[in-house]
Symmetry: C2
Subunit: 268 residues, 2 copies
């Protein structure tokens, strides 16, 4: 086997091992795990809500770039052979009437409440972090071993059917002289949020204090660094809350689904 093929197989093995660990009960943020393999946000809804959500995603593609949609009732995806979406993520959230009801590591009992759950897998900015790191741009939350900080912004998404809400953004502090590169590199990955939606002053996004993210963990910002904001796949959870969706299962922020698809697949 060639060195390239061996490296590719090892990366898939790492993704499978991570999923097996989560299936076995391991709970931990997935940033930096199985490097080079695409991670995805997850939201599962009863079939009755699937059209509204798919339309919401289509109308807000920077925040909700869809990588795969399962058939109704199926917990399987083309993005990872043999994976079970009900168990293979580190942590799930169950939502009832727009409110967070519980956080669980095995979502099978919640899934079983409906026989027609449709699962949406949504691109995650972790995908372009490998490319940033390869360009020598530090990704702070990976360097510090923490979860990425995410904030509810004041930017309204375009509504669809019964769904509305504001955009959630992730933030990475970038050295001022590397901001332009961070923009051009991530722009090459449009199906995993693409280029930043905002660079600089958090107040303009309605964010009062970077030290208190709405999801994930705060990261340190060094002198000479600029906060750079990307659309985030937690946006559907904000829509679930704002729209009072009767029932939904999502990943817990930062605790993603790790696929068998290399990040490079989404490079254009």
């Amino acid at each position: 086997m060639s060195a390239l093929k061996l490296a590719a197989r090892r990366a898939v093995d790492a993704a499978r091992a991570a999923r097996a660990g989560y299936r076995g009960g391991l709970v931990a943020p997935s940033a930096g795990i199985a490097p080079g393999m695409t991670q995805a946000n997850l939201i599962a809804l009863p079939r009755d809500w699937a059209y509204d959500f798919l339309l919401y995603a289509q109308r807000n593609p920077k925040a909700c770039p869809i990588l795969d949609v399962t058939d109704a009732g199926s917990p399987h995806t083309v993005l990872a052979e043999g994976a079970d979406l009900r168990t293979d993520l580190p942590l799930y959230r169950v939502w009832r009437n727009g409110q967070l009801a519980e956080e669980i590591s095995d979502a099978r009992p919640a899934w079983a409440e409906h026989d027609d759950m449709v699962t949406f897998l949504i691109g995650c900015s972790f995908t372009f972090e490998t490319a940033l790191q390869e360009a020598g741009i530090e990704v702070r939350h990976i360097a510090d071993g923490s979860n990425v900080p995410m904030y509810l912004s004041n930017r309204a998404c375009r509504p669809a059917g019964r769904l509305r809400g504001d955009m959630v953004v992730s933030m990475r502090p970038i050295r001022a002289d590397r901001v332009a590169e961070a923009c051009t590199i991530t722009a090459r990955y449009p199906s995993v949020h693409g280029a930043p939606v905002h660079v600089g002053d958090p107040a303009l996004l309605g964010i009062a204090d970077l030290a208190h993210p709405d999801f994930g963990e705060a990261v340190r910002i060094e002198p000479g660094e600029v906060p750079v904001f990307w659309a985030c796949g937690v946006t559907p959870q904000a829509a679930v809350m704002a729209s009072g969706v009767p029932f939904a299962i999502t990943h817990s922020p930062g605790h993603m689904f790790i696929t068998d698809v290399p990040d490079s697949t989404y490079h254009v």
Copy 2:
């Protein structure tokens, strides 16, 4: 007004004038009309079929890149202020039980058969033709003033719900020494079909004779030119046929919806 703003306004004026002409009864292929403005494929379906179609598009994004979806019952789109999707295209096709029933220039009577029609506007390869021409690559069907040739290929799309079908491709003959550029240029427009799906031998795509396209018109191929194939937004019409969809309204191949959105918007 600056020269740039003036040029932009003139381009929008040209798009509006073209739509007004079609609304008034003009029937003609839209290739080369209102240069620099995005043209779109159209398919309208009753709401009952909208989820299956939106999922089909998500699963086959090269062939069916969605630019906008209307609310059920609305003939209006955010892509062109004041446009009426029932009248503002040069030519429509009405489909019944998977068969072409009629070709009409005013679709209002057909539209009125259902009060919940959902209209999908889908990216068209015309968008990247401007970029090809600006690079000095001749686009044969524009140079010759004909409709682009389109072929039903042997490549199956990924099914969704009740929808299945093969991919339709458009073909442009490109000089062998410009093929690589034609690939890289069009790759920068992923939401309007992006890079080619096939370069060279038509037989491998199941196309028996380039001189007899399934849609549009044949174009001449000069010595030293290679046939290059892109995924085509007529693919939904192939799905309507293959799946026996009870009722659909589409554009007639090559007779597109001209929007107020500059082609450059879809450059990544």
